[in-house]
Symmetry: C2
Subunit: 475 residues, 2 copies
Amino acid sequence: IAKEVAKLLDLKAQLGGDESKHKFVLKTPKGTRDYSPKQMAIRERVFDTIIACFKRHGAEVIDTPVFELKETLTGKYGEDSKLIYDLKDQGGELLSLRYDLTVPFARYLAMNKITNIKRYHIAKVYRRDNPAMTRGRYREFYQCDFDIAGQFDPMIPDAECLKIVHEILSDLQLGDFLVKVNDRRILDGMFAVCGVPDSKFRTICSSVDKLDKMPWEEVRSEMVGEKGLSPEAADHIGEYVQLHGGLDLVEQLLQDPKLSQNKLAKEGLGDLKLLFEYLTLFGIAGEISFDLSLARGLDYYTGVIFEAVLLQPENNHVEEPVGVGSVAGGGRYDGLVGMFDPKGRKVPCVGVSIGIERIFSILEQRVEASQEKIRTTETQVLVASAQKKLLEERLKLVSELWDAGIKAEVLYKKNPKLLNQLQYCEDTGIPLVAIVGEQELKDGVVKLRDVATREEVNIRRESLVEEIRMRTSQP
Amino acid sequence: IAKEVAKLLDLKAQLGGDESKHKFVLKTPKGTRDYSPKQMAIRERVFDTIIACFKRHGAEVIDTPVFELKETLTGKYGEDSKLIYDLKDQGGELLSLRYDLTVPFARYLAMNKITNIKRYHIAKVYRRDNPAMTRGRYREFYQCDFDIAGQFDPMIPDAECLKIVHEILSDLQLGDFLVKVNDRRILDGMFAVCGVPDSKFRTICSSVDKLDKMPWEEVRSEMVGEKGLSPEAADHIGEYVQLHGGLDLVEQLLQDPKLSQNKLAKEGLGDLKLLFEYLTLFGIAGEISFDLSLARGLDYYTGVIFEAVLLQPENNHVEEPVGVGSVAGGGRYDGLVGMFDPKGRKVPCVGVSIGIERIFSILEQRVEASQEKIRTTETQVLVASAQKKLLEERLKLVSELWDAGIKAEVLYKKNPKLLNQLQYCEDTGIPLVAIVGEQELKDGVVKLRDVATREEVNIRRESLVEEIRMRTSQP
């Protein structure tokens, strides 16, 4: 019987195998993608630029797990919470994939009782959003976060975050951009003076946040229709949210008969004034716009908020530049760490997150358009042979080169044609070929060929490493 | 009524907030951990060493999503499949976290019809295993994979994978190590000549795989008791699996009256012989041991398999060195890509995976023991002031330095004490302090202080960047 069962099981396994072959869906999950070597080369360039900036500003680096206890994420994201990926309950803890790097950072600070740190964190986050992959909106995407935690004098860390956004977007040469700033306290003060009931502050704030994707009329009807706000209050908000400017607008609103009477708004405006002073010292005040329509979706912001958008070059001549979308955002969240601390002890934080998927999309399209050839390996030399039966000699030489720290390859064929070996160099951008042959072995030399110029010279074997190093060192 | 409801909701929210504060569990999920800046510094050193080796061997790099369609992972891992993390069904596709990087790689090759690539991939994988964190066994852990895909002459890529393991373990200076090799075909041939029924090959292979964690007697009783193998077959296996050696053992088994009659075993032994020839050319044959007890747990291997273990220095004098656990493993899997290809087209592959968590654990303990001071930032200079009311001047100078590419920091205080500023440099290892004061501003200079020697010199402001660069350039 056991034998028969085994046979049947085998048969079933075979059938299962064939079946799955037929109905197999060969894809990555919705909203995700692979990175090919070429895409990785572009991605690494972007990361290098961003990390260089974070290090220039003295940041340490940390890492956290890709998932957190579900309750860690609960109550932090407002209406966006429905976009969180949960793991299946397989026994044990209930887990969710991280939605951003900010909440895990706050959990990390509270858990380790850290009250003072400047750190960056580059990792993937997960949102069950509607993907729009051509525009760089994915369900799995990288965030590059820089945050400053600690009790400091007002607006100095906040100004540094804006300086960092400015440096990174400049360094990446993405064209013109605009950084919008606002303050949650100004928004809340504005809601109060417009007659929004306290309980509706957060949900009306979410509606304002949609102004970068919808016209005011639609946002207004959401406020009045879905959220039950009075038309008068909505119209009053409508007047404020079209305001944008610089230090002048801050000064103007500090004189606004209603706003200036509101304690929160006054605090926010006072801090923005200080912020603009520091931005002037940093030489970037001109590219920062105080914009009352900026709200940011997340619940946890408590003070300054900001967002950077790239401006489309096509719209150079149009009065109002059109953003192709947000590429960075952030703000102050002074209450988040306290939500995790058993005694509610607060650690003031401010930070910025660079959303690099859109930046990748832009740079990928640019590389595509320019037909720039991007190398995906760093190989300095291919070890080749012109005659047959030299596999062992090639393996011996390539091993010597590896041991000397030279980046070297060899074709995995017993008797490859020289032409194929040279073609491989052309295809992959390898600049040098080290050719061994019967004569070279006898003479104790290697023929070194420059792929671009086709020049060949015999190099003594003991000088080969030095010669390759010299020829491939960066100028 | 609406007002009352709003009030009640507010009240509930407040209550909920307080409640959650009390019962909050402040931890990372079971089997996972955060990386502190110090741990990250060690991690990056290890990654740098590994990536340098992969690039030295001409590898490209790819990336894949952290989750795959559940069916992509189904039927690839044998008995280990129960350790896969599934995502909750929230509507849409059924997803699982990747269990390794090999199956996603095979899916990537089939999906993009790639028949020829040498790539590395460094990313986290997920296993619902019993964690043993002090020994570096986690549920979320990094794998560093290098694989060669393509139809090539036998054993050349396989030998390169072993060379890579050898280079990385040597470069990391982890002490003595041993690389074991075997071949699935030899194992299957051995099972056949020992009288194991075909249908039990994989499950008996899983038992053999446990030999590095359990003594033979336990493995034997699992084979006979749980898996219904005849005691004679088990004893016969028991004789083979204690064999280990080098090329000599390969030659000996090629003469073995039973094994040499088995087609699969003969093929495997023939290839191992060739492998040892190439390993001799690479100068590493002495550290590679042909070990018939090596089985590897995963279903997808089809040919050469290997595993590297670190040897405990304490056991130097003992005959049989004891491994502290596997730090690298891999093998040939010629059938995996074909499982994904709609027409079953095969792409032969061989690869190696470096398991760096154990390596981290060892290096972390070593740093701890040596009390080596590890810098977690790269800041070159702190911009400081000796008198009050110079915040603006400090911000202006630090901004100039950032713009010139200097890694610089400033304390986020209006009027920090000079002593505190110097202490910050001591604590974080910043080598230089640029001090601005009333007199320096008047004279157009900055006082540059060397933290280690306490020497101070006035540098003209326009020469400051050059001076800092010169003083902090690596020798």
